[in-house]
Assembly symmetry: C2
Homo-oligomer: 301 residues x 2
């Protein structure tokens, strides 16, 4: 029996591919340096056929793809689905790019001040996380997916009803490379991280709070090498303190952290400090569960 599904999380910087058997168990796994930001226009189909499929022995296996592969930079534009949306709504809006190859739609919702908000890839992890345990499909869940563009998501009865994107990771990257807050060292000084968390306050007046990262070195006696850790604590602390309210979520509601374990660990530290119950879940396993569930549903549709 060959693999039942070729599941791909195809993002901006790389492509993660798995083959799954009919029960959803992983048969094989490979990563490819084929993020959509590295592709020439029109190249996705060919490289998928010539490189990804043979490497996994999945020349004819049905494939389910999620992430930026569905954007203008990717294979083709898979139009956004609108919130509220759960697995059935995503499965009903799959884009078939060639026989047996389907792309999961991104999600759109009404965000802050009437501006739309969008995600592409996280919806599959989020719905996979819901699919992993029946109790997650009932009632209300608040999920934070940290990253370059972190997502705060409100899930009700298994459907994403609203989300907000916080560009904390990108702020960290541009400030630590291009501003007076630039720093060389790694962000692993947990004392400085905690000092940053404390300076984040309620998450308001960020442009003012950010300057403390400079002033504590210039006007104080703190070493410049601690700036990256301090900046990371300040930005994550400000995000965690203020973003849930934009979803209509009270400060104390428990938060599920979904994604990369190391990054989730920093968010956990920030939430713990505020006394907010939280738990970390593996984003990769959730993505797989989502792709598997969508393939099943899509087959039935």
């Amino acid at each position: 029996m060959g693999p039942g599904l070729l599941a791909c999380d195809w993002g901006t910087t790389n492509l993660r591919a798995w083959t799954l058997d009919g029960a959803g168990q992983v048969v094989a796994h490979k990563e490819f340096d084929l993020g959509v930001s590295k592709l020439q226009p029109g190249q996705a189909a060919k490289r998928f056929r010539d490189e990804v499929r043979p490497a996994l022995g999945a020349e004819r296996t049905p494939a389910m793809l999620c992430g930026m592969v569905g954007s203008t930079l990717g294979w083709t534009v898979a139009p956004y689905a609108d919130c509220p949306a759960g697995l059935p709504e995503l499965a009903a809006r799959l884009t078939e790019v060639e026989p047996g190859v389907r792309i999961v739609p991104g999600l759109r919702c009404e965000g802050i001040a009437g501006a739309p908000d969008v995600m592409r890839g996280e919806e599959t992890q989020l719905m996979g996380w819901v699919a992993q345990r029946p109790e997650r499909a009932r009632g209300r869940q608040v999920v934070c997916h940290p990253g370059t563009h972190a997502k705060w998501v409100l899930i009700e009865d298994g459907r994403i009803v609203r989300f907000v994107t916080a560009m904390t990771g990108e702020l960290y990257a541009v400030l630590s490379r291009h501003s007076v807050l630039k720093g060389e060292g790694p962000a692993d000084d947990m004392d400085a991280f905690d000092e940053g968390l404390a300076a984040a306050g309620g998450g308001e007046a960020l442009a003012a709070r950010l300057f403390t990262a400079r002033a504590r070195v210039v006007g104080g006696d703190k070493p410049a090498q601690s700036t990256p850790s301090y900046l990371s604590g300040l930005l994550i602390g400000a995000e965690v303190a203020a973003t849930p309210r934009l979803l209509g979520v009270a400060g104390g509601e428990p938060v599920a952290l979904l994604g990369d374990a190391a990054l989730c660990g920093f968010y956990k530290r920030a939430l713990d400090r505020l006394g907010v119950a939280n738990q970390i879940f593996d984003g990769e396993a959730a993505a797989l569960a989502g792709l598997f569930a969508l393939n099943r549903m899509g087959a039935d549709a």
Copy 2:
């Protein structure tokens, strides 16, 4: 009778010099492309003597300098004075770098979360603004000095008691050059600026609000050329909404805007929208008044 004072606002990017007569009236004015960021170490004294003095016919005139010339990048480090400080405290802490050439100290205060905050150059404009009208030396004044590192300042009975720096201008610069919010056009689309002001809310959760600048283009129908104006409105709106409270100033207290007229105009628009009374004052005239007053006081000291 030769000029009574050679007054210089010597900042990071350029040097503005004036000669004043004994009554404080301007005799001559010149600008020099001699900002401290462009100087070789140890070069300040020579270039001041060889270029600035002769150009203004002020070879032997006493000189008063303020700004980054008093930092590690400048002529010599003029140690910070601590808040509360007014003209007398600044005049008592002038640094004489050679006979007849004195540098105004920067100011330091306890800022957010116990971190120090610092300014260098703005203190002279602020105290000059106070010196321009006797009534400003009594009671309480809230002053905002917009810029790369904007200052919000609480003045009581003619002394700066507390201030907060908001790095709004630098955030704008790095985000519009290096992030997904980068944009080409000028920030002169006032409809987009106002849209940004509206999206600033109470100034909390800035990393989330910033993403609306991306989402309104990607997920909405707004033109990418309007991003710089939107971003400017969003950042200034967030600063204006949340920073005064960090000084212990209520949202509705009147604000004096001191500095560059065009930049102050954007802040005026943001404050008007919140219904906060405000008035714009010329920063250059205030700097001159401050340097003149400090020279008088320093001569008496």
